[in-house]
């Protein structure tokens, strides 16, 4: 009797759990006056914490501009990269603005806005390296570093099957490891590597070249990640991206960080 009751309770609870997991609430009735934005804070120049612990970077400035445009109050939450998508799904924040590429695998989990930038991947090697080209033959048996769970780590494995791919929790660690001589090459966004090799910390290394971005892996560029079902918020972000592109805010932010166009080709043409 008691056991039967316990089981009934268990079944009820499981149903509840299952229901919660499946439920995909729409945000149609939600008033988005505040939006919490998740970012990593360890991926300069896109998002990083400065010496005083303040969030800075292209992603952060773009997010602030988008929020101004949408007339919403934004707060930032820093979150480790490999927990980013679960944290969004669990509601720890409402939007990911962390240089996240819009890939098919991620699109199964979350929704994305249109892209807000798209830059190619690149490979960097130590300055005295004998590697002269970014091909599988040239990198056979070499150790290539990349950040864990990124498009770059996947692309490195796909492009250089005969190299050993080593994956690090953040970009800082693979940079440290190539400086220490453990890695023969590192792969990441060209902008990230470029900023690093120009800094004192990256004095060890040079950029070997950029690589073509396989759309199967890299998807459609970098977008704002949102929960599926938050269609209203997605529409707000998409309109805001168009608006800051048109009114020159985007260009102003871009020029602060880069001396070239990071937006890439018009999405309509892709």
């Amino acid at each position: 009797m008691r056991i039967a009751r316990s089981f009934a309770l268990a079944a009820a609870m499981s149903a509840l759990l299952a229901g919660a997991a499946v439920a995909q609430e729409s945000d149609a009735d939600k008033d988005w006056s505040t939006v919490r934005i998740g970012t990593e804070g360890a991926y300069p120049p896109f998002n990083f914490l400065d010496a005083s612990g303040e969030l800075k970077g292209f992603d952060v400035d773009i997010a602030k501009a988008l929020c101004d445009q949408m007339k919403v109050e934004c707060t930032f939450v820093t979150q480790d990269w490999d927990g980013m998508i679960p944290a969004l799904q669990n509601g720890n924040f409402d939007a990911i603005v962390a240089s996240m590429s819009i890939t098919p695998e991620r699109e199964e989990q979350i929704a994305f806005t249109n892209k807000y930038y798209n830059t190619p991947p690149a490979i960097a090697v130590p300055k005295d390296s004998e590697i002269t080209e970014a091909t599988d033959a040239a990198l056979t048996g070499k150790q290539i570093g990349a950040q864990v769970s990124t498009t770059h780590a996947r692309a490195a494995a796909a492009l250089f099957p005969d190299a050993e791919i080593r994956q690090y929790p953040t970009a800082e660690e693979y940079k440290l490891d190539i400086e220490n001589g453990r890695l023969d090459a590192v792969m990441d966004d060209v902008v990230v590597l470029d900023e690093w090799v120009k800094s004192d910390a990256g004095a060890c290394c040079k950029i070997l070249g950029t690589l073509p971005a396989d759309p199967q892996i890299y998807g459609k560029g970098v977008g704002v990640g949102l929960r599926k079902g938050d269609d209203k918020l997605k529409e707000m972000f998409n309109q805001a991206i168009v608006a800051i592109r048109e009114d020159g805010t985007y260009k102003k932010i871009q020029d602060k960080y880069f001396d070239f166009d990071v937006y890439g080709a018009d999405p309509a043409a892709q």
Binding site: L9, M13, S149, N180, R182
Partner: protein, 270 residues
């Protein structure tokens, strides 16, 4: 109020209360277990095993070999440390105390970072003294840190066990004209190991779980492979598999300890 209630009836009410509490507790556990089984059966996806099965097995092998080797090396290091802890010589006991104090008093994650990235900063020095081949490899760095860490704990287990052997055993050995070394290895140590067996098993179990942090220095142990699988699928069951595999290792160890205890104490049984 005065004594017509039989004394035996008095304990009954509190026992009733306990029963209800117990039923509630068990119901909660049953609910959790049933919800878990329902979740796991519902979420079970055979294609994931096809995709990640081999990487889980290789991760399992890395975890088991890493823990086994570092436990053995730790045991070898722990012997002089334990003897140092018991020594009357202030230099030996001071050095042994400092070793144990440092490795038990600081987090393993800090020790691993210190060895991997910290020693990496001095790679020119290690190249000069011819040890860079060792510290260059993440796997060796993990082995090195885990072995030293467990050596500190094992030294304390061993010291306690040796000190638990009655002094009379030493005196008896001496009266038979045995040398101190012979008494230690043939008389005292075997008896001490009976006392140490359970704490040793405990230490291995703790190490198996602690070893999961080598994933952050790019060693793909069971946990590292799990994070890979999770980052590709965002499916929570990848972590459930890892938990079940860790449970299986610990369960196997538990049986091995029981067997070893029966074997070691066979002379004490009637």
């Amino acid at each position: 109020m005065s004594g017509n209630t039989p004394a035996l009836a008095i304990p009954a009410p509190p026992r009733q209360k306990l029963k209800i509490g117990g039923i509630v507790a068990i119901s909660i556990w049953i609910v959790i277990a049933v919800a878990f089984v329902i979740y796991f059966v519902g979420a079970f996806d055979i294609t994931l095993i096809e995709r990640f099965g081999w990487s889980y097995l290789s991760g399992l092998w890395v975890t088991v070999s890493l823990v086994a080797l570092s436990f053995v090396f730790g045991a070898i290091v722990s012997l002089p440390v334990a003897l140092g802890r018991m020594a009357t010589n202030p230099i030996a006991s001071g050095a042994a105390f400092a070793f144990v104090y440092f490795f038990r008093g600081t987090p393993l994650i800090a020790q691993i970072f210190l060895v991997y990235y910290g020693f990496g900063e001095f790679h020119r020095f290690f190249e000069t003294i011819g040890l860079w081949w060792f510290f260059r490899e993440a796997w060796y760095c993990g082995l090195f840190s885990l072995a030293l860490n467990t050596a500190a704990y094992q030294a304390e287990i061993l010291r306690g066990a040796i000190e638990s052997v009655p002094k009379g055993q030493w005196e008896g050995g001496r009266s038979l004209g045995l040398s101190r070394t012979v008494i230690f290895f043939k008389v005292v140590l075997p008896q001490a190991l009976i006392v140490a067996l359970r704490p040793y098993a405990n230490e291995i179990i703790l190490m198996i779980k602690a070893s999961a942090i080598v994933a952050i220095i790019t060693v793909y142990d069971l946990f590292g492979e799990t994070r890979q699988a999770y980052s590709r699928t965002y499916d929570f069951q990848t972590y459930v598999w890892a938990a079940l595999l860790y449970l299986a290792i610990v369960e196997a160890l538990r049986h091995a300890t029981n067997w070893a205890e029966r074997r070691l104490t066979v002379h004490l049984k009637r």
